[in-house]
Structure formats: C-alpha cells, structure tokens
Symmetry: C2
Subunit: 514 residues, 2 copies
Amino acid sequence: MAEATSRRRARSGGGAARRAERTSVKIETAKYIERNIPNFEVLSEEALGVIEANAETVLAEIGVNFVDNPGALQRWRDAGAEIEGERVRIPRGLARKLIATAPSEFTQHARNPEKSVVIGGKNLVCAPVYGPPFVRDVAGGRRYATIADFEKFVKLSYMSKWLHHSGGTVCEPTDVPVNKRHLDMLLAHMTLSDKPFMGAVTDPSRAQDSVEMCEILFGKEFVQNNTVMTSLININSPMTFDDVMMGALEVYAKNNQACIISPFIVGGAMAPVSVAGTLTQVLAEVMAGIAYSQLIRPGAPVIFGAFVSSIDMNSGAPTFGTPEASLVTYGAGQLARRLGLPFRSSGSFCGSKLPDAQAAYETANSLNMGLMSGVNFMLHSCGWLEGGLVASFEKFVMDADQLGALHGLAKGVPIGEDDQAMDAIREVGPGGHFLGCAHTQANFKTAFWKSDLCDYKPFETWEEEGARDTMELATDRVAYLIDNYQAPSLDPEIRSALLAYVAAKKDSMADSFM
Amino acid sequence: MAEATSRRRARSGGGAARRAERTSVKIETAKYIERNIPNFEVLSEEALGVIEANAETVLAEIGVNFVDNPGALQRWRDAGAEIEGERVRIPRGLARKLIATAPSEFTQHARNPEKSVVIGGKNLVCAPVYGPPFVRDVAGGRRYATIADFEKFVKLSYMSKWLHHSGGTVCEPTDVPVNKRHLDMLLAHMTLSDKPFMGAVTDPSRAQDSVEMCEILFGKEFVQNNTVMTSLININSPMTFDDVMMGALEVYAKNNQACIISPFIVGGAMAPVSVAGTLTQVLAEVMAGIAYSQLIRPGAPVIFGAFVSSIDMNSGAPTFGTPEASLVTYGAGQLARRLGLPFRSSGSFCGSKLPDAQAAYETANSLNMGLMSGVNFMLHSCGWLEGGLVASFEKFVMDADQLGALHGLAKGVPIGEDDQAMDAIREVGPGGHFLGCAHTQANFKTAFWKSDLCDYKPFETWEEEGARDTMELATDRVAYLIDNYQAPSLDPEIRSALLAYVAAKKDSMADSFM
C-alpha cells in the first residue's frame, strides 16, 4: 500500500519525476542491416545478358534527352557521345566504362558517428517515406502537411530503433514557402535528430544551401573529404534528364556528396508493360545518369535507383506491392550488383487510403522483396500511404516496427555449437518441452524478434483491454514515442550558426509558393 | 428512361433473370502454381551437412517415441531399429534408406479432372485454413464454428480462383458430434466442390470412412490405383508419434493415399530456440515419420511437413509471420529437396485477433516466404486468424486474393522477343508515354496481376463511395461469392450413395462429443 501510494505520488509529482521516467526510455538505434543471407536472383545469366545488351542498344540507338542543359550536352560530347539537339546517344560500352569510377560502397557520415551508415555491399539502410504533400492520422484525418508534421516525423524517425536514417522530405511542409522549405527541413533533421539525412534537390541553389548547412554542422573540411548527404535524383522516365534534377546532381557530385539516380517507373505508363522491357529501360536510364555523375566528378558516390510500381489499367492509378514490381526489383538488384553499384529500391509501398489490411499486405510484400533483392538503401521504408500522396503517422510506426522483422531475417542461420542446440535436444528428449531447459534459458531474450506494437496477448486479455486493432495500437505508440522524445545534444554554437544561416537565407528571398 | 425501366424490370424479374445474371459470373480456378523462379536457399552446404549429420545423431542416439503402438515397434524392430520401451532408435542411414522409396512428386486427383493437382517439383498447391474451433465475421463476431459455417467456407474455396484445393477441417463443426463430424465434412467437400480435398485423421476408423467415401465418389478401383486424398498427420513434437495419428497414417499409406508428415513446432516450447536446432529436430522427426510410412507401404505418397511458429516469451503465446519461422521454413525446404520429397509449410499465419494490419503484415510475410522457400503444398493459405483458433470469413477472401500475387511472382521473367519490348521503347522514345503504344495495347490485359478486392480508386471516388477499409470490402466480397455460388454438377446416383453411406454410418454410432 505504501509503495503504491509513493508510486502514485512520484508519477504525479511534477517535472523531476517525469524526467526520471523519461530517461528510463531507451532510445536505441539498430546498426544498419548486414545481411547474412543470400540475395534472391530471379534472372538467369542468359536473361541478364539479353537485358544488358538491349540497354546498350537503347543508349546507342535511341539515346536519352538532357533537357535545357547545354553544359551536360558539352560534357557528353567531350566524352564521345553523339549529340543531336538535346538527344544524347551513348556508344556501346562508354557508359559502362564511365561508371567504373563510381564506388561500390561508401560511408554516409552522421553527426553522431555511431549512426554513420555504410551504403553498399551486404548492407541495408532504412530511411522513411519521402515526398507526400498530405499527412493522415486518426485524430486529424487527411490534410495538407505542415512543418509541425514534418518535425513530428523527424522525431519519430529518431525514436524508431529500426530506422537508420532520418530521410529527406518526409512530408512536404506546405505552410512554408516552396523556396524556403528546404532550409526548415534541413534544420529539423540537423537539430532534432542525429541520424544521417538527405539534401534538397528541387533547385541547384537549394542543393548548394544543403551543402553549406552541412559545412556548418560538420565543418567545411570534413564535408569536402566525406559524404554527409545522400540525395534523391529522379529521372523523368522514359529517358529524360531535366535541368533541375541534373543541376542538383552536379552540385552534389562536385562536392563529393552521394546521389541516388533513380528512374521513376509506373509500369505501362513510363515503361513497357513487361518486366524484361522495364528492366532494360531502367538499366539504360541509370547507366546514363550514373555515367553523367562520373563526368562531373569521377569517384562521386552514387546509388543505382529503381522506383517501380505497376499501373491499374482500369483506373490509371499506380499500384504497389504487386508481383511485377517485385520481379523488376529483384532483377534490378542483380543488374546493380553486376555494375558494382549500391542499389536503392522498395519501401512501405501501398495504394490503400488507410493503414488497413490492404496497406499492410502491399507493404509487407514490398519490404520483404526489398530485403531479398539486395537493396542497400531503402527509401520510403515506413509511413507511405495512398500511393505516396500521404504520410501516415500510424502507418509510420507500424512499418517501422516491421523493419525489425527484416533485421531478424537478415541474421540468417548461424551454426555454431550453441546454435546447433544438440544439448537441448538431448536434455529435453521425446515428449518433453524446451521452455525450462538450459539452452532456452540462456538464449530466449535474443532468440526471437518481437514486435513493439503488435498484439500477442491471449484473446480474453485482449478483449478486456478494449479489443484494439492495429490502428489503435499505433495511435498509442505514436503518442508514446513523441511523449518520450528527447532531442540529441548539439553544440550551442553550431545550433546558433545554423539558425543564423536559415534566417539570413530566408531574409534574402521573397516568399514563393510555386 | 425506357432502358432504365426495362433494366430494373429485368433485375427484379424473378428466377430467369437472376439465373442469367448468375451464369455471367465466371468460376475460374487457376492451375496450381508452376514456379518459374528459383527457391531461396538460406543454408550453405556446410550448414546443410551439419544439420543432416545432427539429425542422424538424434535418431540414432536419442531416438523417437511411438506411443501405444506395438505394431509400429515391431515394424521398426524388423527394419533394424533398436527398441527400448516405446523408444525407437534408428541407426544412422536407415531412415534415409527407407525414405528413398517415397515419390518426389505425385498427382492428387480431383473428381473434376481439370482440378487434379501435381504435388512436388516446382509446383505450389494452395489449400485453405485447417482446424479452427471458432469462426469470426463482422456480422456475427467470434463464435464456435458450425457445419453451416463449414459449408460456407467450402463454397468460398470453390469460388476462389487462386485456391487449388478444398482443404480438410476448414473449421471444426462443433454442432456435430465429434465421432460424426468427419462424415459431414467429407460430404461437403465432395458435393459442394469439385476441387481435391483432405481426409479425416482423428481416428483410424475415420480415415477408413474417408477411404470408403472416396471409393463411392471415384470408384473403388480408381482409389486403389490413384491418390485422391492428402491428409494431415501431425507429429507431437518433440519426437513423439501417437497412436491416433499413426493409426490414420497406416490406413492412408496402405491405401496409397497421401499424408503430410508434419512436426508441430512452437519454437522455444516444442523445439530449441535456435533456428539450426529447430531444423535438426524437424528433420529428425520428419525422417522418422516418412520412413515409417514407407515401412507400411513402400512408395506411399508423403509430404515433408513443417509447421513452424515462434513463442512470445512474455505471454507464452505462439507468434506468426516472424523472421525466425521464415528462416526455419527456408531451411526446411532445402532439407526436403535434398531428400527428394514434396514440402509443406507456410500459410496465412497471424496472431492478430482481427483481420487488421497486424494480421496482414504477418500473413504477407508468411505467404511470400512460402512461395520463395519452395513449398509444394501450402495448407492454411487463407482464412487463418488468431493463431489458428479462428477461421475468419473476411480474412479468407483477403488472403485468397493475395494468393493471386504469388501466382504472378512465380511467373518469373520471360525474355522472349515480345517480352523484351524493344519495339515499344523505340516507338515511345525519351519523354513519351507507353499507355497507347502497340506493345501495351497488345499486352495490358495480362501484364499485371490485379486484386479482385483491394481498392485502386482515386481518393475522391473512394471517399464518395463511403471510404471503405479492407474489412468492409471483404465483407462485400464474401457476400458476392456466396450469392453467386452454384454447386458443380454431380452424378445423382453418386450423391445418393454418399448420403446413404453417411446416414448409415451415423445410425451405427451413438453421438460422442469427446
């Protein structure tokens, strides 16, 4: 009784007690996944050869367009490509030769060195959803995203154990002018989290701002010698490289910052309806884009990207978590590895309007496929809803929890003596049970991945506690994580310098919402 | 206006019009999946060797128990095993030698020959959930299952395109006496569907009844020369073979009917907490069980089974769709293939109490793993809820729909000239779109798998139509399928003979609910 009373007093006892409770929340971040399992290889040697030869034909005979970018055309001409208007035809073998200088693996540094990630090889780095103009939660429904939503997502990423990366435009803060948004977004990533992040790509000048803010955060010399951002450069499929994206790529490559070069494919619209045809086009586009990055700066870190969805031929809507997208992704992973490049694909993709069963089926299909296809950088790994139009708070924590299952699967099957567990089988014997045996006691805490969100309770307990579905559990988890958020420490001088930079930049521009 | 009136009249115009509408519903059944993709192999040669050697050690040194079954002990003694009480120790190499007579592939005939299935090799046959004592739907909540529920599930299986098999105890019809249930269940499978099905295993006499009913349905000679049932024989893990299950196995093997020999593993309780340890035990158990089937009748068709879940060490509840279960399943598939046996595992496994996001994540994890691990017979491929305690009507149609995605993924990546789509890429060129090109027009109908249940509509349309989640869509789909159900035709004499057999059998026994 005394204990219960004193407990209650402590709980309601103001600031000190609450702080004490808060510090008991462990903010764990898992190391990026190091796969101890093979990749799933869906393409035969023959198929790989056909697709690679066809991609060279596309580059040499059809070519790609570099739009509004005379500098790019000149660089290509100097490198030996044929230029006709904005069309660049790349002789067989040239793109592959240029790509050879791109690293197969690179480190993206975080301001907290423990959270730096190595992108490439057997590794998988998970980053949250990117780009939605809307957010959704149970309390507020579907609405335009604001910078307050953005900051909330950055906090959730920071608090999520299985997320290795803070991402970029987790949602579009539509209440901030378009030409100033990137400043507030970067400031949030830099101050509210200590995980690695992405830079702005919506204008070359904003990419330059991103580099300059990183120079404040990391030091100028460090940024010139190290990669501290990985940014997303989309290709306008089919085979079009616009000046905005290429301008941002040029800034980042010059500064030795990493870019994902990513075709944006809705199969049937931006690429052929067949898997082999789509893979051919994806490979040609990525080869052209990555070759171009190496023309800017040989050795600049880049990632072979593939954003793939299918189309619903009835409604014209993109569809997600579908088998054809999975086949393209498996194949693209093989093509990337044959080029010796890190690979980006997959994510918490779904077309559903709500974080319901449809969303979860589609997302799980996509997440599993991402792990098995050898993805090295998984953008959109949590929070994606409604074809990417919406960032969902509840789905963010649901998906982020499921990423834990990928960590478990990636462990593979160790076969050390303790793993073999022959002593346990001998100890228990026919008809016994393993719950109390020495091997179980020694290993049960780490043996099984356990969800931090899903319900494992007996039916009766679950019913007594309100018969809550996953959505309700997720609502609670969002609140729990936000309530327990504590900002990582940051040198006050650096914080002041960042704030001053953002304020000065904002003052130098009129607001633009275009 | 006239047209609208006449339409309305036709719709409400009694039997003929309704029949006309009904016959427009196509009852399609997909052929069982023939994989054109590789299997995912998580175990190295070294790991396989270690596990196989350890399994032989388990059989030779620890042994297995055949309980209350002197006949079995005698058979084992005659075959060269050491018998001590009920313990059977099987010398190294003996089980493997006996297993060699089991076929690597067999045909299970359906009464509609178009729906016969080939089990083994690159094939995957999907069957519904098996065993739940409860059912659940939105209208009625969670309740004990009845024979009416059972019949409804058989109809849903019959109407589901991606289900190849009618299954067995889709739910337990608890309103029928235990000793008579199998008769009503078999009658439902035989008359309400023309897909292949499973026999009773709860008593050797019920297995015998199953054989006799099949002799009425297929003809006595046909049954003796062909496999017309695949039944589920669970092993009481660890390493215990009870007389009821073995008695049923003996009946089926003698009659050349197929059995799945399946350890029932909740990792941490019935097997060690480690993946390698669980695989060792699973292999030892399956080898003992399948070797025993071949002692009964060399050449009897059997399937290497593995039912695998983990345990939540907090609540003691089994958990599903977890990474450790996936790793065990991938490994078990490899071990089955090395023994040259068909493999059974996976399913729509989940621990969730509702068909919500948790259920769908867990299920999708498990279904994808099943395809990739080379499963040949997927029991529980739809409808499983709450750790198998509940068969859910809504989840049944959700999962059955997702099985379509597995069919799509299994197609792999064909690379014929049309698949390469080079003409399409040439025709469209940089900056164009593929929606109207000749290749898209020729292929769009079959290019992409499309859900029959999920929502792909634009947000505004979806909202206008009531903002329905997957559960509501599934409720509608259950009603649609049941409303459009038409029984497959059956020779009236056979039907009468089946009814007479069931009536006579029931009359011969007092009711038992034990």
